[in-house]
Symmetry: C2
Subunit: 166 residues, 2 copies
């Protein structure tokens, strides 16, 4: 069938930029991190932050600008098998979206200090949504091939600490 | 500062299309729903679904193709105040991304039957990620202006049942 965006304008608008202690992928472990990042919203979108201070957690969607070309089957750091890219959190995806639920520590004007963000310096930010535990948090989840993977063997950290499970 | 995508190719690739019982926004309550939707992956991306069957829940990112122009301050069905668009789940956003964590019921080849998806018929799908409770589910969340909103007054359902809190 035809691609459904015939006639659609699917043009992305960066709404801000992420400032991170990590400058490139080589520096950046595929791991959770406790580092603090700062989001700089562009002035023309800053008004859209009204009332955001009341939320403890935010959903961020961003563009993984240092990603490589995607493959449909990918190897991860966690085992030697090939998995379908949509069954992994690999950054090399057809649409290289980053996704993190971060903790909002503070806001100062058009800048947000956040914790738990898996992104590199200069990453274009595409969307912020408030995280609502009642609808976004799921329990009794099955995690397929990830279940039983011994993450500690690879990085010496448990999956609970891991932010970026590829 | 300059927009960070100078020289970047941020072109979106629809990877599939969502089939939903709802045909347009008028039919579609801003509510959670228990209807079953079907995701049709385009053939050229189907291989990327390998191993997806093992996951009970998936993160879906899609393009809200029937959205209107965005405003930075928006009114929601929940109260009469204006909120910053990034402190709401309004579909009318600078980048009109839909986001849902859905339950995967069944897979048949390049088709996925899912529950809990807030999208209209024909919605272009942009990404699928496995939902990992350990990193994606947050607890002890503050929900700002949403907290204390009496959703039952508007729709007779609790927020716990609500999927689409604008």
């Amino acid at each position: 069938m035809s691609v459904p965006n015939d006639g659609l304008n699917m043009e992305l608008k960066p709404i801000g930029v992420i400032h991170s202690p990590y400058k490139d992928r080589k520096e950046c472990p595929p791991q959770g991190r406790e580092e603090i990042c700062e989001i700089e919203m562009f002035d023309e979108y800053a008004e859209g932050l009204k009332d955001i201070d009341g939320f403890s957690h935010l959903i961020l969607i961003y563009w993984l600008h240092q990603g490589k070309d995607f493959s449909l089957l990918v190897e991860t750091p966690w085992n030697s098998e090939l998995h379908g890219v949509f069954a992994t959190r690999s950054p090399n995806r057809p649409n290289p979206f980053g996704f993190s639920v971060v903790e909002l520590l503070a806001r100062s004007g058009n800048r947000l200090r956040v914790k738990g963000l898996d992104a590199l310096e200069g990453t274009p930010l595409l969307d912020i949504k408030p995280y609502l535990q009642e609808i976004d948090a799921k329990v009794n989840v099955r995690t397929g091939w990830v279940k039983g993977t011994d993450f500690s063997k690879v990085y010496g950290k448990s999956i609970r600490e891991s932010k970026h499970v590829q």
